[in-house]
Symmetry: C2
Amino acid sequence: MSDSEEKVRVVFLPSGRRGEVSKGTTLLGAARALGADIDSSCGGRAICGRCQIRIMEGDFPKEGIRSSAEHVTPPGEAEKKYDRLRGLKEGRRLACQTRITGDVVVDVPPESQIHQQVVRKDAETAEVAVDPLVRALLVDVERPDMEKPSSDFARLAAAVEEEWGLSDLRPSTAVLPRLQKALREGDWQVTAIIHQADADSPPLLLDVRPGFDETLVGLAVDIGSTTIAAHLTDLHTGQVLAAGGLMNPQIRFGEDLMSRVSHAMMSEGGTEEMRNAVREAVNRLAADVAAQAGFSPSDILDAVFVGNPVMHHLFLGIDPRELGQAPFALAVGEALEMPAHTLGLDIAPAGRVYLLPCIAGHVGADAAAVVLAEAPHDRDEISLIVDVGTNAEIILGNRERLLACSSPTGPAFEGAQISSGQRAAPGAIERVRIDRETLAPRFKVIGVEPWSDEEGFAEAIAEIGITGICGSGIIEAVAEMYLAGIIHSDGRFNEVLADTSPHVERRGRGFAYILHAGEPEISVTQEDVRAIQLAKAALHAGARLLMDEFGIDRVDRIRLAGAFGNHIDPLHAMILGLIPDCSPDNVSSAGNAAGTGARMALVSREARREIEDVVRRIEKIETAVEPRFQEHFVAAMAIPHATASYESLARVIDLPRPATTAQRPRAGRRNRRSRSAPRND
Amino acid sequence: MSDSEEKVRVVFLPSGRRGEVSKGTTLLGAARALGADIDSSCGGRAICGRCQIRIMEGDFPKEGIRSSAEHVTPPGEAEKKYDRLRGLKEGRRLACQTRITGDVVVDVPPESQIHQQVVRKDAETAEVAVDPLVRALLVDVERPDMEKPSSDFARLAAAVEEEWGLSDLRPSTAVLPRLQKALREGDWQVTAIIHQADADSPPLLLDVRPGFDETLVGLAVDIGSTTIAAHLTDLHTGQVLAAGGLMNPQIRFGEDLMSRVSHAMMSEGGTEEMRNAVREAVNRLAADVAAQAGFSPSDILDAVFVGNPVMHHLFLGIDPRELGQAPFALAVGEALEMPAHTLGLDIAPAGRVYLLPCIAGHVGADAAAVVLAEAPHDRDEISLIVDVGTNAEIILGNRERLLACSSPTGPAFEGAQISSGQRAAPGAIERVRIDRETLAPRFKVIGVEPWSDEEGFAEAIAEIGITGICGSGIIEAVAEMYLAGIIHSDGRFNEVLADTSPHVERRGRGFAYILHAGEPEISVTQEDVRAIQLAKAALHAGARLLMDEFGIDRVDRIRLAGAFGNHIDPLHAMILGLIPDCSPDNVSSAGNAAGTGARMALVSREARREIEDVVRRIEKIETAVEPRFQEHFVAAMAIPHATASYESLARVIDLPRPATTAQRPRAGRRNRRSRSAPRND
């Protein structure tokens, strides 16, 4: 053909891929030849509509091209049919149906690009290009022919190789019984659902659907000790289709991690009990979120799990006892990719599962997911990322170097082991302010919009009741008590107030500050203050230990991850000295970073490789073997911890002088500290 | 060290590998460096004793070496301990403990070679080098260290890489819960059980055992429509440890293949019923043979399955309906390698399964196993291999070319649809002779040693009873009836005999030959003779079709495979014209070739690659679309089929002239046939 001899010039935007192709080439063909990025899952059959582009009009002097919509063939029957059935936006064309007759500049909109960027949750979150491990590929399979006997699978594999360039296709065991029916129902046109763990590993056929059906659904799950959260996600776009959560039923074997480890050690079959409990909950949750979005759990083709090391091990059926005692050896920390049914999961019969790597014996796959979402390794500034639970998981570093440790904060930040403490749930006091003059409290309760001193509170609280105080509430309460002079910098109550203030009472040999005098009474006792001091000292000491190791005395930014990080006020955290010195402008909540990281790993093969590489590089610091940890711990007991934080804070909030001057930070003291060699702190 | 500078010469026999190594090198190290083949599974720790060798004494002028046992270090403590505990044969040394101090010639006995040859069953069977996919490797794993946190699995993988050169080890899901306990029980010395499907695929950790435990057990299973046979096999040696069989419980859904296909089509859930029935039977059989040899089914690490296409599909849970109708498309014919639990098999939790490839819609994985065992592709002579069941699977060819087809013989050869027919089981007449003069029969019954006319028969038969006649019995009976003139060459009874012989009776409009006049009466009727004629004509026609395709008129050798092939007398098969012309010396039974092939695939990765390659090369001929098949079929109805077989036979047995001369083969007729162009037969 003379057509094919004549060359025309094509430029694809925004990639800038350009070159000459033979006149008559389709735009999709040209894009593939030139390495430009246009999506398609129907293989150029005008069915999927993923390859929509726009022909630019006008002169492009830099390219030496005059581009015009008249330089391509007009819409043919197939394209008109697609427009009728599914609608093409004004000016859009299907690249697979449009042949090039003259020079053109082609705009590929974001939704037509293969590796489109997932919309970021906020400016601080890492970007990820959607590049799922599971793909839906339309193929036309040759019919069986007695003259050339071959299996249906062999002909399907040949079609996948010819049409999509994927060789060495292998069948999952689960797809085999479905294969022949789907091929015949689809009249030998089927959508092959294919999983490929690595670009160079053999593609695995997970499912075959009659005709064209490119639905691809995955599940990202964060298994917390208290709650299990799941996001049903569209694997094409990374969008969340439905979300849900459940209490972790392992709670009946122990509220905190150590009591679950004990259950595994003390009780025959305890590990299997807890394994079964969490897997059943995950199955219920999967069914629930799938139903929310109009799917069946068997539509879920890929699932990603994150969790702390004990949750990770119990989910895998591994006895966690080694995590409860030195040297805290993980059974397995590497990322795992496996068939879902080996874990007893009721998703697609050939569905796959990915577990992010654990970082160390106390720093789990949830922390790895936080790192993936936060990407401190992509920044020049030094980030301190803190995820607080029973253990605080602490990450410090930048693109040069990343360090991680965990610190035994205990359960106080989760409201446990606090006299009026409870989990964050409706009825719990979550925010507290104390009047500096009258010492009267006002507070906000979860599930009730107005504060306790605002209009409508009495009516609203009548329904729910005030049941306790949660982690963020107790932190604000202690910080406010300190700011109001109710407690000294060393945590002791100002005894005078027991006689002078109606809000402070003597209790046995100690004192209590009464937040709410009703039934039950909600108060903060001397023991509660001590528990918070211990927890915050542990957190602070862990962060300081990493800073010593890194050789710095100050971090550039601090991110507070997890439910706790989401709820506490960074300012109150700094007043208490929970976190080291940093400009308050640079302290923020990372939201549910573990969940975000799990979703990134779900939709992107590249994200999996990235976090596997980063975790290998992270330097793991074991606080238990570092004598300096104890030193930092003791030094961090006071409120506020004597760092520049106090002065930083004084610039942004009304920070009264504390009641005791003995421990009040002075400029000289701060300066002396910042002069000291960081490694000898 | 000056020792390591000085070089000594080493020659390994029988491989002939030779070279110089540094003085002080161990013999095992030298063997590895020079590419000589010495086994070891303890990695040179004087534990496994697999590396035993003998130092030759004397001059080896060709090598220029004087070899002496004094040219190596004497046995040390470790070797003496091994000798005490497990015993070393006189003159044997452990190669891993023996350091070379001077020139030596080393004899490596067969049992110390890695790829030792399995002892062949008979001279006709292919050889196979044992090279199992599962290996047991002793490793010393580093203890966990809080200063350098890493997972137990990571340290195990590092040990496997360092000690055995296997990188990128991956854990099976099932091994994870066992890992930490085994490492601690073994005091950080464990045997890693590793599976590698291909030399370049990542090794998979199936199990970990405390200390040294190299037991490796596999199972080879032949799923027949009637019986399921299993061989428990030592994966180190290929030796059968136990064998067993069960009736295929699918029989309750239909005796023959077509009635099982019908059950799948007609009855909702029929495929799953039959799938579950066969899998349960396999699990029972696995437990049974494992117990016989003192093992648990969970010791079975790898299993190989063969079966005809319907059995193959039902075992995989695939609806077999497409195999029952043109174009007879297999769902999958490719070899499959998968985790055992995906098939519901109760062997080792991370156990693996391999299914040999099917050749075509009617030529199954059992036929592929026969090809593997018989290896016609390794021979210059042209083999015809026949495996008879409800379908006869027929293979023809040599190293140049292999052809395969199946032929619808029906169930007559299995004793079904025969008036006194039954399956081969105790009580069935399996062999028959008829006196040429008196026409009196004598026969042999399965389970009874003496023939019916020999001493002790009456006593022996009293216990069992004569219950029917099986496939081999009916073939011999019909052949003998022909030789004795009871039936004509066209299969009709010689009517005269009904009046003259007490052994022939008129029955309705036909006749019967009375084999046994008891209760029940065992006789061969006109209809029985017709059924055998149809079956043998189909078999013969299939073989002829392949011979046409190959362009030959005569094969060099014939092998009769399967239970049927094992029991019928090749001479009687030739008299009947079951098989085409061949020198009787070159017709033999291949025994249980399918089972042998399955065992070969079980112990050898190379055997799997070989049969996969060969099956891809086999030309599949579909008898249903070949008009010549019908022609051959009609031509093959007569007894004997007019080929040279008759004359060949006349040379080796007392072959009386048949009763009818009209069809008696004459030299001229034979010559005319052999002159005809083979392709226009």
